[in-house]
Symmetry: C2
Subunit: 154 residues, 2 copies
């Protein structure tokens, strides 16, 4: 049941190398049908966020007209990186199948482990310079959001 | 020096509530000038990945014609979530300034902490069902990538 979807994700990954992109493909399935396919377009689009999984999630949301992808399954040629995992949780995908893993990705020059390590560190101990600038006007923005009765939650 | 950029990010966040979006804004600055601005468009675009930071990074990459945003600084009205942090690392942004933090976001109904917890867990212990389907054709994709001499690394 899962095999043809995974084969398709891997096929997309392979074709994407020839197209000048990274070696990653992803497919999103709902009710046994593919609703979105994507490959990695970081270098082609000059978009650091254009990983195959993110691109597939964007397409699936547009396809369904919904930002909630509950009930959908992602097939990825490689284990999703922390950014893509974050996107997967926000999209509420129900399951993820993957073929290659983070060690394969690292051998290919993609350093997911740095990001995992950084995210697990307290902000002040990260390599990335992150500085909080507390601001009363930002507090006010959240107060307005919390008090808004007709907001769309997500 | 940082104040006007942060004020702008917060202003965008506030205006976005009125536009039907989430209470988040982001600005990317290079050489003292704003090169990209964005707000959260998850509900408006049905795109679960359309956080303000991700949208600003996408715009900045397009603006510079480069997927490497080294030397750029992000100003966000709120502490970036794990997905956005992943995007920030991939984009190689040099610094991040933020006003509200993850506790403010959580009080507003945005549960970043679930994602931090999930990412720190071994795959088999996550709430998200993640299954590896090892596949020789996926190994072959990475072998082709590793052997390709004219690839664009990122």
């Amino acid at each position: 049941m899962h095999d043809p979807f995974m084969k398709r994700a891997i096929e997309i990954a392979g074709k994407n190398i020839d197209a000048g992109g990274g070696p990653f493909g992803a497919v999103i399935v709902k009710d046994g049908k593919i609703i979105a396919e994507a490959s990695n377009k970081v270098t082609v689009l000059n978009d650091p966020t254009a990983h195959a999984e993110v691109m597939a999630i964007r397409k699936a949301g547009g396809q369904l007209g919904d930002f909630d992808l509950s009930g959908c399954t992602l097939y990825a040629s490689c284990e999703p990186c922390p950014m893509c995992l974050g996107a997967i949780y926000w999209a509420r995908l129900s399951a993820v199948y993957y073929a290659s893993d983070r060690q394969d990705a690292e051998a290919g020059g993609f350093d997911d482990s740095l990001i995992y390590e950084e995210l697990s560190r307290p902000i002040g101990e990260r390599k990335l310079k992150m500085i909080r600038m507390k601001d009363p006007s930002a507090d006010l923005v959240f107060r307005r959001w919390n008090e808004k009765s007709d907001k769309t939650r997500y």
